[in-house]
């Protein structure tokens, strides 16, 4: 082939590449990013999928979004579609939104309670297999239906997905009243037989009785959903969740109160921070014995009575012991509940047992989830009070 026609062919190939190429190009303004995905039980075997697609113009604000009529626009649009499976339902979604639906920016998945009570097994498939989901998506279980939760509009935050994501982070970090579970943790617990799945519960915020319910709804993240082998079997209240997270060793900080020694009617509150957890295992004997030792550091937040003074060195140990006893009681209660009511190892003790086995087949045969109810779990909590605050008094006020 003479050189000039070779050059011509090369040029043609290059042009063809440019013209036919860009197979994957999706202009970012043509894509509708689903930021929150809600999965509920529909009629019969169908699923109801609720998607929340952010409206970038409103969320980003600035000159484009603000002012006048624009300001009233919703920051996200919420749609519900039904289908036999997740992918079929999303296919229907594409017929009435003009944007390409993309799940790559999905940050939160909310699972309906009824769906969880009938088992998650069937629906995990797409979550794991699809290239668009990543393993650090937050998973939440909604009390009621996911659709209801997703129609709330947050006031401080423009983007509802950011609201939910940050909510889960704060709820976990600052209060320990709900765990923070990603898809990775979910799958880890579900597949490895070492622990049971847990998930935070999200519900519409209801005010305490006696207070006025505001018109704009909010969502509240409180409590834990307990699963057994992929089916939701119960839930834990907020205080129980605090204890659960403390026992899992993943606690950041939470607040605990104890009565004042001299007057049980008054209370002092402490902020407790997790400082370490050790699990000791003793496999001699018919059942495994676990000893969980939790160490917490405390800082005094407030007290309703200055007498006896918080700074009194003789009484510090006593206070620590009271706190520890309080927490140990709660822990034992929780363990009892987990073992008797639902027999689900939400503490992750199986992970500590598994290294004792030589291979997976014997671990599978052992069936730890069934044996959890009979295991002996002993909890000791140790509290160390480090700081008592900005005021300090070492003796009784005169």
């Amino acid at each position: 082939m003479p050189a000039s026609s070779r050059a011509l062919w090369m040029l043609l190939l290059f042009c063809a590449f440019l013209l036919a190429g860009c197979w994957d190009r999706k202009a970012v303004e043509d894509v509708g990013f689903v930021t929150v995905l809600g999965i509920d039980q529909g009629e019969g075997e169908a699923l109801r999928i609720t998607v929340q697609i952010g409206n970038p113009r409103v969320i980003a604000g600035g000159r484009q979004g603000g002012g006048g009529a624009e300001g009233q626009q919703a920051p996200a649009m919420v749609h519900t579609v039904t289908g036999e499976t997740l992918s079929l339902a999303l296919r229907d979604l594409e017929t009435f939104t003009n944007r390409r639906i993309s799940l790559v920016q999905t940050r939160v998945i909310i699972l309906g309670r009824r769906l969880m009570e009938s088992g998650i097994q069937k629906h995990l498939g797409m979550l794991v297999r699809s290239r668009e989901f990543r393993r650090n998506i937050q998973i939440m279980v909604s009390d009621g239906s996911a659709e209801q939760v997703m129609t709330t509009r947050p006031t401080l935050e423009r983007d509802p997905a950011v609201f939910l994501e940050d909510l889960s982070r704060r709820a976990f970090e600052r209060t320990a009243r709900a765990p923070r579970i990603t898809l990775h943790d979910f799958l880890l617990a579900y597949e490895t037989l070492g622990e049971e799945v847990i998930a935070p519960i999200i519900r519409p915020f209801t005010v305490a009785p006696g207070l006025e319910q505001r018109p704009e709804q909010q969502s509240q993240l409180s409590g834990t959903a307990l699963f057994r082998r992929g089916t939701m079997v119960g839930e834990l209240s907020e205080t129980e969740t605090e204890t659960l997270l403390m026992l899992r060793g993943k606690t950041e900080t939470f607040v605990e109160t104890v009565p004042v020694p001299t007057d049980p009617g008054l209370k002092s509150a402490y902020r407790l921070t997790g400082a370490g957890r050790k699990i000791r295992l003793d496999v001699s004997g018919p059942q495994p014995r676990f000893t969980i030792e939790v160490t917490l550091e405390a800082e005094a937040l407030e007290t309703e009575s200055e007498s006896p003074a918080l700074g009194d060195p003789a009484l510090i140990r006593d206070r620590e012991a009271r706190l520890a006893r309080n927490l140990t009681d709660k822990a034992n209660q929780l363990v009892g509940k987990l073992q008797t009511e639902c027999s689900c190892d939400a503490l992750g003790l199986g992970h500590y047992l598994r290294p004792r086995f030589l291979d997976w087949t014997s671990w599978e045969k052992y069936q730890w989830p069934d044996r959890f109810a009979n295991a002996k779990v002993q909890v000791t909590v140790r509290v160390i009070i480090r700081r008592v605050g900005m005021t300090f008094q070492s003796q009784k006020a005169r």
Binding site: L18, A27, V28, E29, V31, P56, R57, A60
Partner: protein, 582 residues
């Protein structure tokens, strides 16, 4: 179109490609003893610095060729001065051209002998010619000696009458002609064998000014001018050593441009010097106006993207390079000196890095490298991520990008290309316009164009930021050639990013790296200083403190490895105790 086809043709047809240079490497073969050559040599043989036979022969052949071109009336000088002058007249086209002056004098001391002074008015210093040549000839009445032969007369004239300057005694008409057209005054004395060429050059020149394109905040503000002599002076002032050699030469058949190959004898590697001479000797062209043209004729890979010779306007940088064992090439008519060998890090350095303290020098280098990377990759990454990989941006950023793009009618690629091309047009335009206006046009163009385009919702504001940052990044690249390379490669990256996303950008980056690594500059690998690291010279990306830079960089294989005392801050060492005892 034809040129494009030709270019593509030669990619495929090996016969049409420029001939590959012989494998040249600066590595000298190890000495036969088997030990590596790491000791500092105290005995520096000088014999091997003379040009090789090959270079000498080529230079002689070039001279002959030029002779033939210049004087078709080949022949030696005759004794008859009139005939010689006629020949000169014909060769210099006295009838057709203006500027040639043939002044006839009569020597009073030896009456009857005519002297002709031939020179080109405009190339000579008229005052000098009058006072130093014509006047002594006219007024000198006593000449010693017998003055019987023409040779003695010539010698007398040469030795006693010419008060200053360089005087050459030549015997070839070709040399006379080339001397006259390069500003010498030829003295033809009747009955004398040979002709005297007196150097009385003076031509209008620019004064030594600040370097136009390589300014620094701290450091000397002198730049080269277009006159070779001034440039040599500027370098001589900084290296006042007898070992500083300026090898003269002429290049170009019709231009006969003076060039000088500059090096430090005893420091430079003989292999490097020989290679430089060899390449220059092979250059056979009509006219060379700028060192850039010479660079393209002697570089290792003309098809390479990167510059492999450094062109600089600064004498201090040239002096520093010479002190590292490199070779500089100066050319008459060009204010840029070429420094060989040059590797990538040289193009990212400015002399100011060495004049300030080392943390700041390092900081500036890092900023420059960052600027280079940003210029090359930022638009391509923006397109790749905004069009292909939406999952790779944090959500808040994605929302911002999507919001700003929703108003815009163009797809991201087109937007980026439009703005980049607009910026390039503004830059080129600003260079052409006279200086004051040019800066204003740049600012006005960029700001107003960009702002107006955003207001009209033609482009998104995020893109303005990206394009502006890219442009600013390119301003940090100190060397113009490298700047051009990066600016053009940026467009290639944009195309790749627009067709295949990050995959395309990775392809471009890898190809770029392979190309950069495969280049050599006079035998030195282009990315040499980046690895392996040289002990004793912490001067790469990060610049070590000056007191640690005691070993010369071994790029150019200089013959003396130590350039600074190991403990150069000797005043810090406390005096020894012995002195106290005595």
């Amino acid at each position: 179109m034809r040129q494009l086809f030709d270019f593509l043709n030669q990619l495929f047809d090996p016969r049409k490609r420029p001939a590959q240079p012989q494998q040249f490497s600066l590595q000298q073969p190890p000495p036969p003893g088997g030990k590596p050559d790491v000791t500092v040599s105290t005995e520096l043989p000088t014999a091997d610095l003379t040009p090789t036979r090959e270079v000498q022969m080529r230079a002689a052949a070039a001279e002959r060729h030029i002779d033939q071109l210049l004087n078709p009336l080949q022949g030696d000088l005759t004794d008859d001065v009139e005939i010689t002058v006629e020949r000169l007249r014909a060769a210099l086209h006295h009838r057709e051209t203006s500027g040639l002056v043939i002044r006839k004098l009569v020597l009073p001391a030896s009456p009857g002998r005519r002297v002709y002074a031939v020179f080109v008015d405009g190339l000579v210093d008229s005052q000098s010619v009058e006072l130093a040549i014509i006047e002594p000839l006219m007024t000198q009445t006593r000449l010693q000696g017998s003055l019987r032969t023409g040779l003695e007369l010539l010698r007398q004239v040469d030795e006693t009458l010419m008060p200053g300057r360089q005087v050459e005694h030549v015997h070839s008409l070709g040399l006379v002609i080339s001397g006259i057209v390069s500003g010498m005054c030829a003295l033809l004395v009747e009955t004398a064998p040979g002709i005297l060429l007196v150097e009385v050059r003076k031509w209008p020149m620019r004064a030594v000014e600040r370097p136009l394109n390589e300014g620094v905040l701290r450091g000397p503000q002198e730049g080269f001018t277009e006159v070779l002599k001034i440039n040599t002076t500027l370098i001589r002032r900084r290296l006042m050593t007898p070992d500083l050699i300026f090898e003269p030469g002429k290049i170009g058949r019709r231009s006969r441009t003076d060039i000088a190959v500059v090096y430090l004898k005893g420091l430079v590697s003989p292999a490097l010097l020989e290679e430089v001479r060899r390449r220059i000797a092979h250059v056979d062209t009509d006219l060379l106006l700028e060192t850039g043209q010479l660079e393209q004729l002697i570089e290792d890979s003309p098809q390479g993207l990167f510059p492999t010779l450094q062109a600089t306007e600064r004498p201090d940088r040239t002096a520093a390079a010479l002190a590292e064992g490199r070779v500089a090439i100066l050319m008459e008519g060009s204010p840029l000196a070429l420094i060989v060998p040059a590797v990538l890090t040289d193009f990212l350095r400015i002399p100011e890095d060495y004049y300030v303290k080392w943390p700041f020098g390092t900081f500036l280098r890092i900023v420059r490298t960052l600027g280079l990377v940003i210029t090359l990759l930022l638009p391509a990454l923006y397109i790749a991520i905004a069009d292909y990989h939406h999952e790779m941006i944090p959500p808040a950023l994605l929302t911002a990008i999507a919001a700003s793009r929703e108003q815009v009618p163009f797809p991201a690629t087109l937007e980026v290309l439009m703005m980049e091309v607009a910026f390039e047009v503004i830059r080129e335009g600003a260079i052409r316009v006279p200086s004051q206006l040019g800066q204003t046009i740049g600012i006005v163009g960029a700001l107003i164009l960009g702002q107006a385009a955003v207001e009209a919702s033609i482009i998104s504001p995020i893109l303005i930021i990206i394009v502006a940052t890219t442009a600013l990044g390119s301003f940090t690249i100190p060397d113009y050639s490298l700047n051009l390379v990066i600016r053009v490669s940026r467009f290639v990256m944009i195309f790749l990013g627009a067709t295949l996303g990050l995959y395309g950008v990775a392809i471009g980056l890898f190809a770029f790296s392979v190309h950069a690594v495969s280049l050599k500059s006079f035998g030195v690998p282009y990315l040499a200083p980046m690895g392996p690291p040289q002990p004793g010279n912490p001067d790469n990306m990060l610049r070590g403190p000056t007191f640690l830079l005691d070993k010369r960089p071994t790029l150019a294989r200089p013959r003396d490895k130590q350039r600074q005392a190991e403990k150069v801050m000797g005043w810090r060492v406390p005096p020894s105790n012995n002195e106290e005892e005595t």
